[in-house]
């Protein structure tokens, strides 16, 4: 039985959302990794400030991408969702722990600066940035290596502690650091800060090389541990793998040549990551869980799949323009002549502390009393009627 076109379509949307999360969420977590190794308060102040400024606008999106991944998975492929959530209970809970820590740090950030709790929030940010990508990597590897059965009887420790899974965990951490460093190079360039450009360029190169090495290692491991995925990665998905490698090398070349083109560099780095995600998706086909649950067997009824298309359409129609407006406003630096908080505070204090204008609108006292009496009588009558019936 081959999967329906709707199922393939929703699976494609799912992988687009996963790629978006890898890029935006990855940049966020990578920021935490660079924050971690930026050094002492004095030395690390400049890079930390850049990381702080660059991350705020994309932070929200990360959560929404993640929630969409979960919701798409449970609506369109419920059995796979249930199996993954059961078998990989432990690494998923740990990745969730990282997400909560990240959120606490984010909400507390600016307040904390004044409370001298900077170091504590910095530590939670850094911990989250290591924990979440690492355990998400183990989850992805556990699925790809076929260690998640369709009907797990409980959590499976061996599924996410295999050498492939551990390697993938490290690969995810390195990839986050890599994608984040690239963005930060461009953020530094936009602000005209040459020191930070060089600073993050060096780090992007190092992280890029490490990511490449870890990817190679994982790939080699998979020839043994994930025969189905490996066979398709070297078969039908080979072009995507090749593009990813080429894009990765191209990014390293641009960094070496110091050609920091805002669009070209960002796009090439994004392609290097996104093609791997799509390659993984293509390599899993026709399985949701290789090799125990196929796409055809694990898909929801057609109407549920179509509903997800509608939701995706709504997202494109409503969310994209809203997001564009937000970015537009962020880019506009000019201020209107509107009052500042300072003006408002001044004006508010000058306001006399008596209730002014209100009595002007009041009805004459006899009319008010009459209305009140009528209302009271009606209410009492209603209550009495209620009891009289028995």
């Amino acid at each position: 039985m081959s999967p329906s076109p709707e199922a393939i379509g929703v699976a494609a949307i799912l992988f687009v959302v996963i790629a978006a999360y890898a890029l935006f969420g990855g940049a966020d977590f990578g920021g935490g990794i660079w924050d971690l190794q930026a050094g002492g308060p004095a030395r690390g102040a400049a890079p930390r400030r850049l990381i702080d400024d660059a991350i705020t606008p994309v932070w929200e999106a990360n959560h929404v991408w993640l929630v969409f991944i979960l919701v798409l998975l449970w609506t369109a492929f419920p059995p796979a969702f249930a199996a993954i959530m059961t078998a990989l209970f432990v690494p998923l809970s740990l990745s969730l722990l990282g997400i909560v820590l990240r959120g606490v740090g984010f909400a507390f950030r600016h307040t904390a600066q004044r409370l001298r709790m900077e170091e504590l929030t910095g530590a939670t940010f850094a911990a989250a940035s290591l924990i979440t990508p690492f355990f998400m990597g183990t989850v992805v590897a556990a699925v790809a290596t076929g260690r998640v059965p369709a009907h797990p009887a409980g959590n499976i420790l061996a599924a996410w502690t295999s050498p492939t899974a551990i390697l993938t965990g490290f690969l995810f951490v390195a990839a986050c650091a890599y994608i984040s460093a690239i963005y930060l190079v461009l953020e530094a360039r936009q602000r005209g800060n040459r020191d930070l450009m060089r600073y993050f360029s060096r780090r992007a190169t190092a992280a890029g090389l490490l990511t490449g090495a870890l990817a190679g290692g994982t790939f080699a491991e998979m020839s043994v541990s994930a025969p189905h995925v490996y066979a398709r990665l070297t078969g039908i998905a080979l072009p995507l793998v090749a593009i990813s490698i080429a894009a990765g090398i191209a990014v390293l070349g641009m960094l070496w040549l110091r050609w920091y083109h805002a669009v070209a560099l960002r796009a090439t780095a994004a392609i290097a990551v996104a093609t791997v995600v799509f390659g993984w998706g293509l390599a899993q086909y026709p399985y949701l869980l290789p090799t125990s649950l196929t796409l055809a067997a694990g898909s929801a009824p057609t109407a549920a799949l179509i509903a997800e298309f509608v939701v995706a359409g709504l997202a494109v129609l409503l969310v994209a323009p809203g997001f564009a407006l937000l970015y537009y406003l962020q880019q506009r630096h000019m201020l209107t002549a509107a009052d500042t908080d300072a003006d408002l505070r001044l004006a508010a204090r000058l306001e006399p502390a008596v209730s002014g204008r209100a009595s002007a609108a009041a009805a004459p006292a006899p009319a008010r009393i009459t209305t009140a009496v009528v209302l009271a009588v009606l209410t009492i009558k209603a209550i009495r009627d209620l009891f009289r019936r028995r």
Binding site: E60, P78, V90, I99, F106, G154, L329
Partner: protein
């Protein structure tokens, strides 16, 4: 039956506790996501319309607090999405295709809400006043739509509809019927009104404390009056809706209603118990109003009310005492808040002024906490009252809970983390308000919040003289 073997094999109590505490925490933040924007819109409207600086300052400061709360809410919302799978794979694996649609919509609406929170914060001094006011309206609308979507998912668990089962597997789904199931109109209205009451009374409570401490300027009076009015308008509507919903529950989920009202046997002349503990078929320490439950249900003392004897013991909700007392607490607080709002309305009618006596302000200061208690009790009634079903009369909780070990551990971690999140969501606004009273205006202008513009891109304004 097979289900009973499962009940013995796996205890869903840790999973239920974890879900309950996560939801119980998130729902408070969600109230602000739903209703805070409306309160801010009213303040800004007064500010622009009457050139009232105090109202504008309130709106601007409230919007910063809202941003912090929405940021924390995004985190606890993500936790809930995970927990749907981590704790209830038996539900999601079987019914994900049905229950997934309202959740998908909720995702969209929350995304839009967060985007417009960002736009609203960025726009404070960048957009013309009325354009800026309109840029905040989508937060109100998407907040309502998001609340409707996610409560519709819960309603579906109470009155499942829109799917066809064959051999325990869903073969057909009608997403529209899933969304608009029989309980949706009741539950969503009840929750949205609750959100307006919780947010309104909580915010008003903050300024009631300020008024009690002698800060009786226009800033504090408006800060109290606007949210109190919003919540005060919602209160009578909520009491009315509650009465209608109770009758609907009696019709739709009679066993849940029986637990709410201590009705062990189906009879007429059913008394209305106020308080009381149910032990071994007797109610102790409670006051009974003869036949009043029958009157409330069918407007006649002869109305027969269905008791929980109509279903086998295994399908009756546990902890009837908890369900009944939670219900009584919710109703009691509802009437208390209604009385508080009516008192102020009465006084306003005759004197056109705020009540400033401590007899009114002290209860008002705690009205927000009371509203939270009422809402939490309401959720206890609807959730514990549905037990042992997770999908009413379709799927048992014990068949939905995860077979994975370690839920007791994650429960402990979740409780600790939510302690921290609670500290953040209360602590950050408290710290902000202290700063507002202490700092110069220039520093307030440069203040950073989640979603807000960074100071590098904002302007620096001349510092105004400080009265306080």
């Amino acid at each position: 039956m097979g289900a009973m073997a499962h009940v013995l094999a796996m205890s869903p109590v840790p999973a239920r506790s974890q879900m309950g505490s996560s939801l119980g925490f998130h729902i408070i933040l969600a109230c602000f996501g739903i209703a805070f924007a409306a309160v801010i819109m009213i303040a800004e409207w007064i500010g622009i319309r009457r050139g009232d600086a105090a109202a504008l300052l309130l709106a601007r400061r409230w919007s910063k607090v809202m941003a912090v709360l929405v940021a924390v809410g995004a985190v606890s919302g993500t936790v809930l999405s995970y927990e749907m799978g981590l704790l209830w794979p038996g539900l999601m694996g079987r019914f994900g295709a049905a229950i997934g649609f309202p959740f998908s919509l909720e995702g969209i609406f929350f995304f839009l809400e967060a985007i417009f929170v960002g736009i609203y914060l960025y726009g404070w001094r960048r957009l013309p006043p009325w354009v800026h006011w309109w840029s905040g309206m989508p937060i109100v609308v998407f907040g309502l739509l998001g609340a409707t979507s996610v409560v519709a998912a819960n309603s579906w668990m109470n009155s499942p509809a829109g799917f066809t089962l064959s051999h325990g597997k869903i073969t057909k789904v009608d997403p529209v019927s899933v969304f608009f199931n029989a309980s949706t109109p009741y539950e969503t209205t009840h929750m949205i009104l609750a959100a307006y009451m919780v947010a309104g009374f909580l915010i008003a409570g903050v300024y009631a404390v300020g008024l009690l401490r002698g800060r009786r300027d226009r800033y504090h009076r408006l800060g109290f009056a606007i949210p109190f009015t919003v919540a005060g308008i919602a209160a009578p509507l909520q009491v009315m809706m509650g009465d209608i919903i109770a009758r609907y529950v009696e019709h739709n989920q009679p066993v849940k209603f029986a637990a709410m009202e201590y009705v062990p046997k189906t009879t007429g002349e059913v008394p209305e118990w106020i308080g009381g503990i149910f032990v071994n078929g007797h109610v102790y320490l409670g006051a009974a109003i003869p036949a009043f439950d029958s009157i409330l249900v069918g407007f006649s003392s002869h109305t027969r009310v269905i008791g929980w004897d109509t279903v086998p013991a295994a399908f009756r909700p546990p902890l009837v005492t908890l369900i009944h007392l939670s219900f009584d607490l919710m109703v009691g607080i509802g009437f208390f808040l209604l009385a508080l709002a009516a008192w102020q309305a009465w006084y306003w009618w005759f004197h056109r002024r705020l009540l400033t006596t401590a007899w009114f302000l002290v209860p008002s200061a705690v009205s927000g906490v009371a509203a939270v208690a009422a809402m939490e009790s309401g959720w206890v009634v609807t959730e514990v009252g549905r037990q042992p079903w997770i999908v009413y009369r379709v799927l048992l909780v014990s068949n939905a809970v995860t077979p994975a070990t370690g839920v007791s551990v994650t429960l402990g971690v979740v409780l600790v983390l939510y302690g921290i999140l609670t500290a953040v969501s209360i602590g950050v606004p408290v710290i902000m308000s202290r700063r507002w009273r202490r700092e110069t205006s220039a520093e307030e202008d440069a203040e950073q919040v989640p979603y807000g513009p960074s100071p590098a891109r904002g302007g620096v304004s001349p510092a105004g003289p400080e009265a306080r």
